[in-house]
Structure formats: structure tokens, C-alpha cells
């Protein structure tokens, strides 16, 4: 199976991967949002997620679209907006 070259599919893949990270780490995400150290707390999971994403998406597409970074905000941060935090 070739690498993904379509930006929409790349973004969809990133969202699915990060949705799983959130699903399997609900408490960590909540604590990370509350303490404003989400990315530090999820460092290992996010590195693994990023590696999985990079294996499947054309490097140029990944870089140009910043699909992973966008999905990171959309999925992990935006979906956690109900959590009380000093960020918002």
C-alpha cells in the first residue's frame, strides 16, 4: 500500500490516530489540559502516534499540510474544551 498523498486523507488519518490516543488516555489528557502540560504528559504516546502517521503519509504532504499538528489541536485540545484549564 503506497503512502498517502491526498491532504484530506492525511488529515483524516491524523484525526483517527489522535482520536485513539485520546480514547486510550482520557485521564492523562484531562490532567494534561488542567495542568497545561498536555504534550509533556503524552510525549511517548504522541511520538508513537507521529511515527505511525509518518510511516503512512508522503513526507512532503505531511510537512506542507501540517495535518498532524492541525489534528492535534482539533482532536486533543478542542475536544477537551470542557475541561477547566488556566489556558481558557
Amino acid at each position: 500500500m503506497g503512502r498517502i498523498a491526498d491532504p484530506e486523507r492525511a488529515l483524516r488519518l491524523a484525526r483517527a490516530i489522535l482520536s485513539d490516543v485520546m480514547l486510550y488516555n482520557v485521564e492523562k489528557v484531562r490532567a494534561g489540559i488542567e495542568a497545561d502540560d498536555l504534550f509533556e504528559r503524552l510525549r511517548e504516546e504522541l511520538e508513537e502516534a507521529r511515527a505511525f502517521f509518518d510511516e503512512r503519509v508522503e513526507a512532503e504532504v505531511a510537512e506542507r499540510t501540517n495535518a498532524f499538528g492541525r489534528a492535534l489541536v482539533d482532536v486533543l485540545v478542542f475536544r477537551s474544551r470542557a475541561v477547566r484549564s488556566k489556558i481558557w
Binding site: 500500500m1 483517527a16 482520536s19 485513539d20
Partner: protein, 224 residues
Amino acid sequence: MIKSPSEMDHYELLDVPREAAADEVERAYRMALATWEGGSLATYSLYSEREVELLRERIEHAFRVLSDVDARAAYDRRLGGGQPEEHALPLDLDLTFEEPQRAELLAPGLELQEAFEEDGTPYDGARLRRSRLQRGVELEQIARVTKVNPTYLRFIEDDQYESLPAPVYVRGFVSAYARCLGLDPARVVPDYMERFETARPSAAPSLVSTRSSGRLAAGRRGRR
């Protein structure tokens, strides 16, 4: 070989051992009902509404018998004597999978032409999850389309067989999951159910499980 509901005795239908205590029977009954509850049923894609209705009645009947001490004793005597089972209701669900894949069962945004994959490895939970992620489909999307409880979908992907309900339901769940991803249920279901039947302990199922790693890499999750 998985029996069809029409061939199962009451214990098999509720997925409890013959010696199951009353509370165990009740727990299994509630789980079976929840599985087949209106609007939360994956296997509506496999069964007609009438078939589901009959199955629910069959589950109700099994529970009524097994939760009544006298009725259960009489039933056990009949089973022990090898007498033909007397089901209160006719039920002959066809559990073969001859329906073609249907586009309306695909997860939103997924097109059939991008859905096929061939890597030859058997379909276990980890492979199902990889297939899902490769298609960019979130577990919640599958839950919405198939109406399978997302907790069960996670158990399927984690190969947590002991946390899943009776085989007849799991078969329907896995089939619905496969269809949703555009996979061929005729290939996916036998693979998955073979592992399920090999690994599944005889104890009654429990919804409580603490094993869940959520790791992404192939071969690192759900292994025993």
C-alpha cells in the same frame, strides 16, 4: 463451529455455564438484552427486525426458565436426558454472510475503492485496528454507523475476548465492523471468530477489564 441461536440451549444462548448461579444468569441476561436493545444493535445490518424481535423473545424465555428454580431443574433434566430442546419460539436465523458489501454501511468519507487491502495476515483485533486507522476512521464513527457500543468495539480491537458477549453477538459485531470499513466479512469474521473461540474461557463474560494498552504498533497490543 458456532451454533445458530435456533440450535442453542438456554445456557448457550445466554453464554453461561450449566452450573451458573442465579446472579450470573441475571447478569448474562442483562448483557444479552443490552446487546440486542432497539437502536443499539449492530446486527440490524444482518438480521431483519422480525428476527431480532424473535431473538429477544428467545432470550427472555431462556431467562424465565433459568431464573425459576423448578423450571430450571425440569429443563436440566430434559437436557441431561438428551431430549430435543423445546424452544418456545421458532427461530432460525441465518448466520451466513452472503450479502454483498453495501456502501451505506461504510464509515462516512470512506469510499469503496480505497477500502480494500490485501496483506494476507489473519484478522485479529490489532489488524482490524490498523485497517481502521489506515482508512482514517475513528472508532466513534464506526460506533455511530454500526450502532455497536464503542466499549465492545474497543474490546474487539484489543482482543479482549473474555469481555465480549456470546459468540453469536460478537460475530454480528465483527461483521458490522468489517462492512463499515469496506472489508469482506466472509474473510474477517472466520479469522476473528477462530481466535475468539480458541481463546475464550468458559467462564461467564464480564464487562470489567483492566487490560488495555492502546498501543499503535502491530503485534504489541492485545497479545497473550
